[in-house]
Every structure is written in structure tokens, then in C-alpha cells.
Symmetry: C2
Subunit: 110 residues, 2 copies
DNA sequence: ATATTATATTCTTATATAACCATATGGTAA
DNA sequence: TTACCATATGGTTATATAAGAATATAATAT
């Protein structure tokens, strides 16, 4: 009972997760909050970006289901909701290394 | 000897990998070529999209370092270059399921 | 040489995303 | 109440990405 539309929808939902992770600041945020929850203020300081922008990045990561938040007084604390996301990073580093290495190989051929 | 600029650059390179995976058609392609290499024609048929678009998606995935290609006669075969990418999918499905489930929980509260 | 097939590229247009600045909300303290 | 602090949202503009159609390349076959 799985129709074409369902499959399309599922691929789109998956793609959204990757899109949420496709920004350097958001990756930095995810890594930062992965060990323990952090307030927006802490995150803003850590990533050295504009507060309003960080706020939007956080909202996006939350909407994607990657982070969750918790209000306490004036502060809002964000934390990693799905910890397996951290496993991506090892693999991504492998891709990055392979790519950088292939560039070096090219340089040597000039 | 790792300066701020290097760190920024590394996060950007990582983000590029995720960006490459942030499109439903590209995800479908990656999955399709993960077991064995496929020609562009086969891929076009499988994903049911326009050839010129698929070609662009393939170029992007190759540029990101996720796929590699091989020419044989008239055909070009693409295959998954970094197999650990497939491990992402289990985790991504987990995120998607959690998200869908939280929507169901919301529906029941209306 | 010409024709054919597979794939890639160019161009245009629509849409999405990001950054920046200003303003708004929502708790807390005085 | 007013003032203050942390965070979020709105508006604008610049830039990036996507889709579609047309054209170009490159390998093979005739």
C-alpha cells in the first residue's frame, strides 16, 4: 500500500534532514550541543554569529527534528535530540579528506 | 597551527557534503547506485526525472566526492565512492520517524 | 563523411536561502 | 506599572538553487 507519492514524500523528508545539516554554522551548533544542552546565548558566543541568525538556525534544526529545546526562565536550552546524527561526522570527514587528497594529487600533476 | 579560517573552511566542506545529499532525487540516486554502478540512462529511468536535471545532480554528487564515474563507450557509469554514506540513512529514517510520530501525537490532541 | 545515441552544458526563469537590521515577544526584577 | 534581558520574528536585499527547454559534445556505427 505504498504509492509513488508516499515514496516521494519520504525522500523529501529525508532530504530535509540533510538540508538542515548543510550549513557550517548549523554543523557547529549540532556538534556544540551534542554533549550537553546549551542556552542560545552560549551558542551565539560559541559560533560567533549574529543572534538573530543563530535563532533562525536553531529553529530550523528543531523543525527538522535534530534538536529539541527546553525553556527555563529567560533562557532556552537546546540539545541534540537524535544522537546518531553525530555518527555522520566521522563519515563526512572521510569524504572531505578523500576530496582534499584528490586535490593534492591534482596539484602535483601541474 | 589550526587557525580560525581553517576551522571555518572545514565546517564549510562538511556542510557541502550534506548539501549534496539535501535533495530527494539525489538521495534516490545515491541509494540506487550504492549496490552496483549504474549508467546515466538507467538512473534517469529509475528516478523518473528529466535527463538534463539528473545529469546536473550527478555532477554535483561527484563534485561533492560522494559518487565517482567511469566512462565505457557511450555510457558513463556512476557508483558510490564513499560507502559509509549509506549508514546515514538508518539514522535519517529514525529522525523522520520521530518527527512523523510527534505529528501524530499532536493530531490526537486536537 | 554523416547519423545516431548517451550525456553534458547553456540559458532563462522561478523559487528558496541567507544575512542584516529593526522590531516584537515573553519572562523577570524593580 | 516600567525597565530589562534573552530570544524570536518581520522586512529587505543579495545570492544560490532548481526546473525546463534547447543546444553542444563525444563516442560509435554506417
Amino acid at each position: 500500500m505504498t504509492c509513488d507519492k508516499d515514496i516521494e514524500k519520504i525522500y523529501s523528508l529525508r532530504a530535509e534532514i540533510f538540508k538542515a545539516l548543510s550549513h557550517p554554522i548549523r554543523l557547529k551548533i549540532v556538534e556544540y550541543v551534542s554533549k550537553e544542552e546549551k542556552s542560545v546565548g552560549e551558542i551565539v558566543k560559541y559560533v560567533e554569529a549574529e543572534a538573530s541568525g543563530v535563532s533562525r538556525h536553531l529553529a530550523l534544526l528543531k523543525k527538522a527534528g535534530i534538536l529539541s529545546d527546553r525553556k527555563e526562565g529567560l533562557n532556552i536550552y537546546y540539545r541534540l535530540e537524535i544522537s546518531c546524527v553525530m555518527d555522520f561526522f566521522t563519515c563526512v570527514n572521510k569524504v572531505v579528506r578523500t576530496k582534499l587528497k584528490s586535490n593534492i594529487d591534482l596539484i602535483e600533476k601541474i
